[in-house]
């Protein structure tokens, strides 16, 4: 096939295939995989189109999640180098059971039965806030403390699709909340009440005990908060 034909095919794919992808399927994780469980990825379609059309135009590089999060967590971070913005959750019917069951098997640490808990991201004054903690009814069989990490992730969309980006993070060594009322907090200031999709991720690591991966990924919630500069300290 001649070069001009290849270029034409590439351009056609870019113009036709991408608009056919429903907006609800445009949420992808860092691997370009749809986070709401759909197989069709506009990212992959467009990557293919760019590859075929190579030589016609130079495709801009897509920023990695690490680059984006580094940019967003600088005091005066701007999105000039990584164009995009926080956005509401796409909102389509989504089955995330795969994310819950295959990635994160049931956690168990000996005879210590515990629950990983996290509340829904919510507005707290002028911030978006979420908490993570652990609970147990068999405390005598458990370590006294656990390292509990909590992340607030927001939906970030750019021309390639949408991804979850960490907007806030907290980590603390705590005892079970149902006995000692201890919890880990993550929060970040809002600069406006634009609606953004958030979710809470919690990881409980029992101190001194080998426990299976038990990161809990909460359901997405739209919150009227566009994250602003990171909190100091």
């Amino acid at each position: 096939m001649r070069d001009s034909s290849i270029r034409c095919l590439g351009m056609v794919l870019m113009l036709v295939a991408v608009p056919l992808v429903p907006a609800s399927a445009a949420t992808t994780d860092e691997d370009g995989r749809s986070v709401d469980g759909r197989r069709l990825s506009p990212f992959l379609v467009q990557r293919f189109a760019y590859a075929v059309a190579d030589g016609v135009m130079a495709p801009p590089e897509r920023c990695t999640i690490a680059e984006l999060e580094q940019m967003l967590n600088q005091p005066n971070g701007t999105s000039e180098n990584c164009p995009g913005s926080f956005a509401p959750y796409p909102g389509a019917e989504a089955d995330t059971s795969e994310e819950q069951t295959s990635v994160e098997p049931q956690a168990r640490a000996g005879s210590c039965e515990y629950e990983t808990r996290g509340d829904y991201p919510h507005r707290s004054g002028g911030d978006v806030s979420a908490h993570g903690w652990w609970e147990t009814t068999t405390y005598s069989s458990c370590p006294t403390h656990a390292d509990v990490e909590v992340w607030i992730q927001g939906v970030w969309c750019d021309r390639w699709g949408c991804r979850w980006l960490t907007a806030a993070h907290g980590e603390k060594r705590i005892r079970p909340r149902n006995i000692y009322n201890e919890r880990t907090t993550a929060r970040r200031a809002c600069v406006s009440h634009d609606v953004v999709g958030f979710r809470t991720v919690v990881d409980v690591d029992l101190v001194g005990v080998i426990d299976p991966p038990d990161r809990y990924v909460g359901p997405p919630r739209d919150v009227p908060c566009r994250p602003g500069p990171p909190l100091s300290g």
Binding site: E93, Q100, Q106, E113, T116, S124, D214, Y216, P224
Partner: protein, 269 residues
């Protein structure tokens, strides 16, 4: 299937309710264990809501026989709850929830207030002097709860407690351009022998709404100078909730309804 859930997406904020209880909480002398002020209001409130089927808390268990939480709560998604910081406002504590899609504030208020009151009572003897609910980010008004509220009046029929006088204060935006007299007349149509809404009356400063710093609200709400008097069949959480729900329903029932507002009911001598 354990650990699995299906979500229909966030679908935008469906409204936040920030409920505050004013009055006094004193620990019972023979009550062991939990001490108000150090215990976790959030967990007990969440537990009560889960037991009653009104809400659910997210998470996952290490025990294989414990399935995950329901995919969606019935009435609200839990956000936060805290005891008051003790700044001398006589506020006992507050709870913040986000409404489930399609749930009107007037529909959620009776169980929400009951849940809060039941929770406070677990920590000691509670004397409520008033409640304030601040709503924010509400969508356009949905179905009126007037029918269910009227049906609920039968709950109060066997009430034996002494009647109580109260004052309902609100922000000046609640009426959405309607006259105060028109609003009072609307409330009076919900009146009967049990609840009696009166005319507009001046609101003393101590009974005015005050927007708490913790409340997630981005608009300024100004206290209205006039409020509504109401006679309750009894001074109870359910009676306060009924009156507040009627006020909120009346405000939201016609037109798009206010999306950010605050309503406060205080017992008066």
């Amino acid at each position: 299937m354990p650990g699995s859930w299906v979500t229909s997406g966030a679908g935008g904020p469906h409204g936040t309710l920030f409920l505050e209880a004013f009055g006094q909480l004193s620990r019972e002398a023979d009550q062991q264990g939990i001490v108000a002020g150090t215990a976790d209001l959030y967990l007990v409130f969440s537990a009560r809501a889960a037991l009653m089927g009104w809400s659910t808390t997210p998470g996952r268990s290490s025990a294989a026989h414990i399935a995950g939480p329901r995919a969606r709560p019935v009435l609200w998604w839990m956000s936060d709850a805290e005891w008051d910081a003790g700044n001398g406002t006589a506020r006992i504590g507050w709870v913040q929830v986000e409404l489930e899609a399609g749930v009107e504030p007037a529909q959620a208020l009776p169980p929400l207030i009951q849940c809060f009151y039941d929770t406070l009572r677990r920590f000691g003897v509670v004397e409520i002097s008033g409640l304030q609910m601040t709503a924010s980010y509400l969508p356009a008004a949905g179905e009126s709860s007037a029918w269910d509220l009227r049906t609920g009046l039968n709950w109060f029929t066997p009430a034996l407690g002494p009647r109580a006088e109260a004052l309902v204060a609100f922000d000046s935006g609640l009426l959405q351009g309607r006259s105060g007299a028109e609003f009072a007349a609307r409330l009076q149509r919900m009146s009967g022998s049990l609840f009696e809404f009166g005319p507009l009356v001046p609101v003393p400063a101590q009974h005015s709404i005050q927007i708490p710093v913790e409340a997630p609200i981005d608009v300024v709400l100004s206290p209205a100078q006039w409020g509504v008097s109401v006679r309750l069949p009894e001074w109870s959480a359910s009676a306060v909730a009924w009156a507040l729900a009627v006020v909120v329903d009346a405000a939201r029932a016609s037109g798009p309804g206010p999306r950010n507002f605050s309503v406060r009911l205080t017992r008066v001598p």
